[in-house]
């Protein structure tokens, strides 16, 4: 299937979401769509999926010109959109999900389960994966769920699959599997539009690229003609500032945060490390390494079997989150929408939330005082807002994340636990978050980052702790950091050798 966008414009009232976008997606190709958040990728994909009509312009699909599409039409043409938040019903079985809303029946009412199950087997066989269609979807891991979505697209003779950030929740091995399947599909003549922020992946899997910026079309071309730096430049519209080398600075030897023998079965055991003043430690690993649980435990949000923390040499009470906060530890949780942003509240209240708990003695709140505190922190965090009383959801992902940082600045925290802090944030904003981390260490604050992205580890950390199945497998200093070793220890390859012996 060949899809050509021709002079697409889309306005939402005064906002120009897309301006004069024209490019072509060829037959049997994997086409990378690049752009920061707000560049217009989703709008364009929604136009292709028939969810939105363009303000002007045409879409030409296999030589037929369309002024606009509707969702049914898009489906019939074989265009399928796999959203980042997967669209599966956890409580139904795999085959039921595959056939949802298109069930095959016998005698009108009676579901023809055997037929559907058999067909599902066939599809999975064609994809070269082994998933039992009779399992409940909740029993599957994230990759398998993703594959079920892809299977659904194939089942209904999709010719073009749009994938929005499909790898965010996948481990590296799973990503490789997904890519293998995508290549197989390409062989079978199915095209794919691949949306992602992750450069290495785009370069691995995609043939062609198209870059959008601020709603405008920037460039299309072959991935083999460009490198990552060039792609990032196209994306951001300026060359990326060289990251400051924080690691040249001599660290104070003063230990501020000592974790001793942290154990919480079955997630992690016997975790000990020491964080120095001004130091950044990253903690990484693969799915099932117990990182997520460890980050919660460090903040007092999860009960431990045993272990303690020494903060500035004194034992820290982990009995409630409030006590941990008060002793100067701040937390930026993973999964911003679910765990850190309070969506019905304005920006100001979102920032002040921690302060109310730990510092603000008076039960009555003064607007003036809140605003004053906010503007002081705004200078540090560089949050871009119209008015601090606007809704938090009016901000971009990066700015929302800065709001969460500002929470802890108000408390003057000196140890920051960041759990996947740049999740779903575009390249430009990522650098701003890193800059915030550098500024923190300059001021002698210490940071623990939980992340699975190697560039992030490399750019920020003095040391990297690699976890494997709930234990510290290896600690690597910055000078010796490289992606291969991190992968080697994350997969526990060193331990497999031991086991063999």
């Amino acid at each position: 299937m060949i899809v050509e966008f021709k002079n697409i414009y889309k306005n939402f009232n005064a906002v120009k979401a897309l301006q004069d976008v024209s490019f072509t997606i060829g037959d049997s190709e994997i086409h990378g769509l690049l752009g920061e958040n707000g560049a217009g990728k989703s709008t364009l994909m929604n136009i292709l999926g028939g969810v939105l009509p363009p303000t002007s312009g045409t879409i030409i699909i296999d030589d037929v010109e369309y002024k606009s599409l509707n969702p049914t039409q898009a489906n019939e043409l074989g265009i399928n959109f796999i959203h980042q938040e997967l669209n599966l019903v956890n409580d139904l079985k795999v085959f039921e999900n595959l056939y949802i809303n298109r069930e095959v029946t016998k005698y009108k009412f009676y579901l023809d389960k055997n037929y559907m199950i058999e067909k599902s087997y066939e599809i999975f066989k064609r994809m070269n994966v082994s998933i039992d269609p009779k399992l409940h979807v909740r029993e599957l891991d994230t990759l398998q769920k993703q594959l079920v979505e892809i299977a659904r697209a194939i089942l209904f003779e999709s010719k073009l699959i749009i994938m929005d950030e499909p790898t965010t929740a996948l481990t590296n091995t799973e990503i490789e599997n997904l890519f293998k399947i995508m290549r197989d599909l390409k062989e079978q003549g199915i095209s794919c539009i691949y949306i992602s922020h992750k450069m290495p992946e785009l370069f691995t899997i995609c043939d062609k690229y198209t870059v959008l910026r601020n709603g405008g079309f920037i460039e299309s071309g072959d991935f083999k003609d460009i490198d990552e730096n060039r792609a990032t430049e196209l994306l951001v519209g300026r060359s990326i500032i060289e990251e400051k080398d924080i690691h040249k600075k001599q660290l104070d030897s003063e230990a501020v945060f000592e974790v001793r023998n942290f154990t919480c079965e079955p997630f992690f055991r016997d975790i000990s490390f020491t964080l120095k003043k001004g130091e950044v430690i990253s903690i990484t690993g693969l799915f099932g390494d117990g990182r997520g649980e460890l980050s919660e435990a460090l903040f007092g949000a999860r009960k431990l079997d045993s272990g303690q923390i020494l903060k500035d040499g004194k034992p820290l009470s982990l009995s409630s989150i409030r006590k941990v906060m008060k002793s100067g530890v701040g937390m930026i949780p993973r999964n911003r929408k679910e765990r850190s942003i309070i969506k019905d509240m304005n920006i100001l209240d979102n920032v002040s939330m921690a302060n109310f708990n730990a510092k603000h003695k008076n039960p009555i709140i003064s607007d003036k005082e809140e605003l004053k505190r906010f503007s002081q922190n705004q200078k540090v965090t560089n949050i871009k807002v119209g008015s601090p009383k606007d809704s938090i959801t009016s901000l971009s992902g990066g700015n929302q994340q800065k709001v969460v940082f500002a929470r802890w600045f108000e408390l003057n925290s000196d140890v920051y636990i960041l759990d996947n802090p740049t999740q779903g944030i575009d390249v430009g904003a990522k650098f701003e978050i890193y800059k915030l981390i550098y500024d923190l260490t300059d001021k002698g604050k210490s940071v623990i980052i939980f992340t699975s992205e190697f560039p992030e580890i490399y750019k920020t950390s003095h040391r990297c702790i690699i976890m494997y199945k709930g234990e510290i497998n290896k600690i690597i200093n910055h000078e010796k950091l490289n992606e291969r070793d991190v992968m080697y220890y994350s997969t526990g390859s060193n331990r497999k050798d031991e086991n063999d012996e």
């Binding site: 903040f299 949000a301 409630s320 989150i321 409030r322 906060m325 937390m331 949780p333 679910e338 765990r339 850190s340 942003i341 309070i342 969506k343 019905d344 509240m345 209240d349 002040s352 939330m353 921690a354 109310f356 708990n357 730990a358 603000h360 039960p363 009555i364 709140i365 008015s387 009383k389 929470r407």
Partner: protein, 343 residues
């Protein structure tokens, strides 16, 4: 006095303009979109006036307010519960049990102060039982309060052996009746109480830490917890406060009626209270809404009753029409909310 003077001084062109255009948005438009229950109320009042010419007289407006008081005070508590993402079905039974025991306390003590405090504390205690099950034991609020609704009612009926609990004539006409029927500046005490309590709750919800916590818990419990809020304890407080307010309503109930029919007192009050919160624009999912809305919401519900009476609608279909109007009001809000989002 000096405060008043400075207030008068501040009324100039600039400030009047400011009043009409807040944050660049016209106040009237803001009213239509954010506080549209006011429109429902105005529409009903106009309808009422069409039906009977003295509908908008001072007397009948006061009557309208007066009939809203008891469920209104309960609905204020219900707002908090719903804003925090929970529900309380037990308020009707809680009112009955508190009222029955308050009557007994008054019979033996003949002291208004003692029985008022008893009502407040007993109500808060019954509410805290809900709160502990919801907050600490983490059982769904719907289930907990469904259970206590049945349990509290059963206790009440047992106490009255199925019949009413009556305050002895002499004691009632002595002082207690004065609270239910007395007036200050031509407006009944109970209406004053309702307005003051509403203002207090509005203050708590908009200007205090506790208010922020209630919104935060209702909007995103996980995030609230990770910013250090003791979510479990906040829930216990919310249900206790609702119990306390229902206790106050129970005291006013006793002072107005002088007796408590254990089987029917407070029956289906929870439904009117929830309806008032819904009409007032509070999201049933929690996190979004205003207590002011509930105040007008309950008046809207009683205005519907009054308008239907004025139109001489047979009382059997009253609830049908009420149901339709409530759905209509909430639908209107949905449409307006969608519009607000689009802007």
């Amino acid at each position: 006095m000096s405060k008043l003077k400075s207030m008068l001084k501040s009324i100039n062109k600039e400030n009047i303009k400011k009043f009409y255009i807040e944050k660049g948005k016209p106040v009237l438009k803001n009213l239509v979109i954010n506080h549209n229950y006011v429109i429902s109320l105005v529409l009903l009042l106009v309808l009422g006036q069409i039906a009977s010419s003295n509908f908008l007289s001072f007397g009948s407006l006061v009557n309208l307010m007066k009939s809203s008081v008891i469920i209104g005070i309960i609905a204020l508590g219900m707002s908090l519960v719903i804003l925090s993402g929970n529900i309380d079905l037990s308020v009707g039974s809680l009112l009955a049990l508190t009222a029955a025991n308050t009557a007994l306390v008054y019979n033996s003590s003949e002291s208004i102060i003692v029985s008022l405090f008893f009502a407040l504390i007993f109500g808060a205690f019954l509410g805290s039982i809900n709160g502990i099950f919801v907050g600490k034991a983490k059982v769904a609020a719907f289930i907990v309060t469904l259970a206590t609704m049945a349990a509290y009612r059963s206790l009440t009926v047992q106490q009255g052996q199925g019949g009413p609990i009556i305050i002895t004539q002499d004691a009632y006409y002595g002082k207690l009746r004065e609270i239910g029927y007395g007036k200050f500046l031509e407006i009944p005490y109970i209406v004053w109480i309702f307005v003051l309590v509403t203002l207090l709750i509005i203050f708590i919800m908009s200007k205090t830490k506790f208010g922020r916590y209630v919104y935060a818990v209702g909007s995103n419990e996980k995030a609230a917890k990770l910013s250090g809020i003791n979510v479990d304890r906040i829930k216990v407080y919310i249900f206790s406060l609702t119990g306390l307010l229902t206790g106050l309503a129970a005291f006013l109930y006793v002072s107005r009626f002088g007796s408590v029919d254990t089987a029917t007192a407070g029956k289906s009050f929870e439904l009117d209270a929830i309806a008032a919160v819904a009409i007032g624009g509070t999201s049933m999912a929690g996190g979004k809404g205003f207590v002011q809305g509930t105040f007008f919401g309950i008046i809207v519900i009683y205005a519907i009753d009054a308008v239907l009476t004025s139109f001489r609608v047979p009382s059997f279909v009253n609830d049908l029409i009420k149901g339709i109007l409530i759905l209509g009001a909430v639908l209107m809000q949905k449409v307006l909310n969608a519009k607000r989002q689009a802007e």
